[in-house]
């Protein structure tokens, strides 16, 4: 069964606007918590994670070989991947309708929605797909 990922994307401006808004981390937890709770109540939330600040991450750049590891954020990249939700809904329209309810705002804040194909959609006679299916079974992965 396919699922949809809502990818939260923000920019430096988004983050600066949050700092200036005077909202506390508790406020953030509450509004996010309410949104997540609503999706749980509706039976659609599969998973969600938020990421630590990009300044604490590193970037591996493959434009030269061997790849170069640099400290985050992402050099010239303005958009930062800040978190995600995975939803069990039947259509991209419904995923988008949920995304519009997310408590996101501010300059540059975006949610990108991408379909996650089910493993059933890959060639079942492929050796690596078979191995991956076995691993998913053992670990109970999505």
């Amino acid at each position: 069964m396919p699922k949809y990922m809502l990818i939260m994307r923000t920019t430096d401006e988004t983050n600066a606007a949050f700092e200036e808004s005077g909202l506390s981390f508790d406020d953030l937890l509450e509004t996010m918590g309410r949104f997540n709770d609503e999706m749980i109540n509706a039976g659609v939330l599969v998973a969600a994670e938020g990421l630590e600040d990009a300044s604490k991450g590193v970037v591996v750049d493959y434009s030269q070989q061997p790849p170069v590891v640099t400290d985050g954020p992402y050099g010239e990249t303005k958009e930062l991947f800040s978190g995600f939700w995975i939803l069990d809904v039947p259509s991209i329209e419904e995923a988008a309708a949920w995304a519009k309810k997310a408590p996101l705002a501010g300059p540059g804040a975006k949610a990108e929605i991408r379909r996650i194909p089910s493993i059933d959609e890959f060639p079942q006679d492929n050796e690596w797909i078979r191995k991956e299916r076995a691993w998913r079974e053992r670990t109970g992965q999505l």
Binding site: M1, T10, E93, A97, A105
Partner: protein, 456 residues
Amino acid sequence: MAPAAGHPVSVPDGGASSAGRGRSGPGPAEGDAATSARRAVEAVWRIESARVVGALARYTGDFALAEDVASDALAEALVSWPRDGVPRDPTAWLLATGRRRAIDAFRRRAGRDERYTALARDLDEGGAHAGATPAVAADPDLLWDPDRIDDDRLALVFVACHPVLSKEARVALTLRVVAGLTSEQVARAFLVPVPTIQARITRAKKTLAAARVPFEVPPADERAERLGSVLNVLYLIFTEGSTASGGDEWMRPDLAREAIRLARVLVRLVPGEPEAYGLLALLELTAARFPARTGSDGEPVLLADQDRRRWDASAIRRGRAALGRAVASGRGLGPYGLQAAIAEQHALAPSVEATDWDRIVVLYEALGRVAPSPVVELNRAVAVSMASGPASALELVDELVATDALGGSYLLPSVRGELLTRLGRRDEARAELALAARLCGNARERGVLERKIGAL
């Protein structure tokens, strides 16, 4: 699971917000703007319908009227949102539109009954209907009370599944108002014309009005029976879906998936009810086998012959978690919980031979006591044959034959023939299997029986 927090700016009211007044939803690469806009409206409706109908029902005190005006609001949205853009707060828009329609309806009735004049005035001022004290000062943009959303939604579930309605009406109404499917989608799901579904819903609303069914969560003394009806409706939706063929989900909504989603909604609304968890567990564990239930040419594959590697491991995990909640209630498992426990034994077993059949026999015994039925007894006999051999199972089957409870069904002679085959009583087996083949209405199943006869 950590909340997806990140560092975006939060909106303190926790309500629907968006980065602005966008055009209608995203356009999948289908190039049909009208279809895409309609789907975007329908998607919002799927999420908001229960809240909208629930709030309008509470504020008007009239479920049938609430469903009417909510449908009108949806129809209006289907016209105006694609044209003017999706409003910033779609729920508030739907509620405001529905309320306006309700006031119009009350005004029309006011000519006949002056009681409605007061109702129309109250609603116009943003108040609740006479007799019910509004819990909050009604903000015209926020007709619902956030603290009562769950009560409204639960009342809606109970009303849609009310025992005064026919089973077909319960199913149609639940899919319409609780699951938020349009009449067109419900009609496609059941492969019947749209007017059939519309007539079913109209009739259901008339029945509820005639029976004076109040819009409320049922009182404690009715609760168990009423919950039983709700669980039964979700189970019916699921079984309808599990016999459906595949295809484009938008052409034919996936009812099994919808039933599972509704069961998840229900367990959040009635967290103290082990049977709600039992039903959710049964549906998840049954759906886990769907990927393996048909062969390459679409023929049904029996449990014993299924490629268990194709079972959905995450559905099994979710089903077992739900069953764990049912067990943890300490109130014992009901019929759905017991069936889930049987499904769990199959889910855990690497093969038919390595299945804990003794445990399954015990579970069938318990199921036969809380929900006695000849089909359960027959299943128990099959489990006994796997656990202790065909001779003891044949005794149970012969008891069923004596009571004639399954007379006319091919299942009984089919199982009896199978047991006799295993006991080496070939002539009797041949006669039983021939009887089963005569009674069997399904050509594919009949083919299986005839092959068994040929092999004797």
